[in-house]
Symmetry: C3
Subunit: 129 residues, 3 copies
């Protein structure tokens, strides 16, 4: 298992971590890689990486669906972040062939920060075919 550390700089932010994952996969590995976020106010997703406006729209719409202020019970002011994390999910699984993640042309792996800025951890595990 590998642990990767990243620092986020905003309350809501999507950070492209594709190359950080790729560099921890051995050259001839065949199987799958699990990328797992051990936090409850952050998530991980795979989506379009070419146009940064897609990330802006995604964070905008998530904040519309789960506003920061609503009739929440949780008193820490980050109930919205927990809900966004549950909607997006805390892990992704990617197929690996000969050390390369088999992803679509436009796909990148994004760490989603919903209660930053913070220092965050990402776990990854390789399971051979």
């Amino acid at each position: 298992m590998n642990r990767i550390e990243i620092k986020t700089t905003s309350r809501n932010q999507m950070v492209d971590i594709t190359s950080k994952i790729a560099e921890n996969i051995p050259g001839k590995f065949d199987g799958i890689v699990i990328v797992y976020v051990p936090h409850t106010t952050a998530a991980i997703t795979i989506n379009e990486g070419a146009d940064p406006s897609v990330r802006i729209d995604m964070l905008y719409l998530l904040s519309k669906l789960a506003p920061q202020n609503d009739s929440y019970s949780h008193m820490e002011g980050n109930a919205d972040a927990h809900i966004k994390a549950a909607l997006i999910g805390n892990s992704v699984t990617i197929i690996v062939e000969k050390g390369n993640m088999i992803m679509g042309t436009w796909q990148k792996i994004f760490f989603c920060e919903f209660d930053g800025p913070r220092t965050r951890k990402i776990l990854m595990e390789l399971i051979a075919r």
Copy 2:
């Protein structure tokens, strides 16, 4: 593969099943565990377990996003439950080292009931590294 049975007691409910999963993992196992819900009106997620208000907020907001009554076609009165299940997802994958699930400090595994009360099944499978 293991099958775990739980009984839910409300229409919408999040049940912490972390210890039920943990007790089915052999002591020295290294790899991943897949936790899978074979139902279409229930889901599984990993989120904060310490403060019960997070679960209250999550169920509250999901019911705002997918209200029980709307212009639905499905006539069984549980269209909202199917939609919530799709938004949250029906499986999670967790990394295991030496028999221990490697999760964040605040993370717990929750079975999400959206059309209870019912008796429900959860499947789990271990895949060695």
Copy 3:
């Protein structure tokens, strides 16, 4: 790894691909199958297959949560499709025993098109227990 190709016929559509996945699983295989969508405006989910109205309701509600027209930055007119894809997720993992996917009675695997009609690819990988 297998690649499956499908053609969608509407902008928003859920296509049952369960049998296409099943026919690529060898008869005595034990482990898991990962079904992965390499697109950023499509997704994959497991939900009820018996009553087609569930799919209608799901697409209806997703379009309410992420309307096609909103204050989006992305100029290609499909920001909603990227967001729906992130909400539903781009892969599912299913347990396989003796060549059979262990799913619930009502569960089917659905490819979710959010920016069709298009020709789309689905990847699948088997990981033995």
